[in-house]
Symmetry: C2
Subunit: 160 residues, 2 copies
DNA sequence: TCTAGACCTTCCCATGATAGGAAGGTCAAC
DNA sequence: GTTGACCTTCCTATCATGGGAAGGTCTAGA
């Protein structure tokens, strides 16, 4: 199986396959006499694994851990859950930051009606330096809302 | 005002100030006889503007637009709202993706109880290639939830 | 057998925002 | 005058991805 076929079968770009090999995320591929890389079903399976993990936002280093766990069948589910939970925590932090930004911007846009420049707080807020009162209030509000969405108390049950 | 003082006053790293100047996000700074960059209050004000916009997740290119709007007081609030709304839409897309990933992972972790490897779907799901039924169902669920959180119908009123 | 073109190889470069560091010049205080 | 804080430019790296050049290999058809 050439790299192109492995790429189509796994959904991982050929360029990325070579890159993953170069950073030792994947073992060195077998080679044909021509020098072409040669893949089999197991290789494709591993590529699919990597692609799925990337789709779920795992970093390359985290995927390294997951592949180790995958290769070592003796390792328990707790290890797997620990990696997944660490990743969930990271994603939640990102989501919280995003929701805070969205909430603040929505509030600013909502407060900016009409065409009178003086009445639009967006520019004023951006250039204000310190956090304007409505911004602080809105930030706290969106964070509370985000927390209720993410339900960390619920997640805590799964934390290592 | 040296770059260090401007940095402390604005909260923008000196390295970043030079970078922003090099990509023409900021005008070339005035120079003292020594060659040192020389900033005044207006410069600091602009730096604060950039920092606040970065904090809100605006890209450099979007900040370029915002600075143009800022410099051109004749432009109306609708222009400002348009930039902000475009950014909100981008942030919501990111948030939606994140929430989907979080939901999927939470579901997988929840389904992975005990220590029997066979009972843990995380690895199976990652290596599965196609989306497992519970993944698809969960994805749809988290997306609905995210949509209700982000309230796009509400935002639509402010779209250009 | 020759050739076209699809595919492969390695190597270099670019992205965006940020940061570290080297080598050397300037300033202020003691 | 010296020390140390600060400044300058220039080079490098990050992470994951992708574009492209220059050149080798394979396969199908004339």
């Amino acid at each position: 199986m050439n790299i192109g076929q492995a790429s189509r079968a796994s959904g991982v770009n050929a360029k990325m396959i070579r890159y993953y090999e170069s950073i030792a995320l994947l073992p060195e591929a077998a080679r044909k006499d021509s020098g072409y890389r040669d893949y089999d079903e197991a290789d494709v399976h591993r590529l699919v694994f990597v692609r799925r993990a990337r789709d779920l936002g795992f970093s390359i280093d985290r995927i390294r851990d997951l592949l180790d766990l995958w290769n070592d069948r003796a390792r328990g589910n707790a290890d797997v859950r620990a990696v997944a939970n660490a990743h969930i925590t990271e994603l939640q932090a990102q989501a919280q930051k995003l929701e805070g930004m969205i909430g603040t911007l929505q509030h600013l846009v909502k407060s900016c009606r009409g065409e009178n420049r003086a009445e639009c707080p967006i520019m004023a807020d951006l250039s204000g330096g310190q956090v304007a009162p409505h911004y602080a209030a809105n930030l706290a509000k969106t964070q509370r809302r985000l927390i209720s969405v993410a339900k960390p108390s619920h997640i805590a049950r799964f934390r290592k």
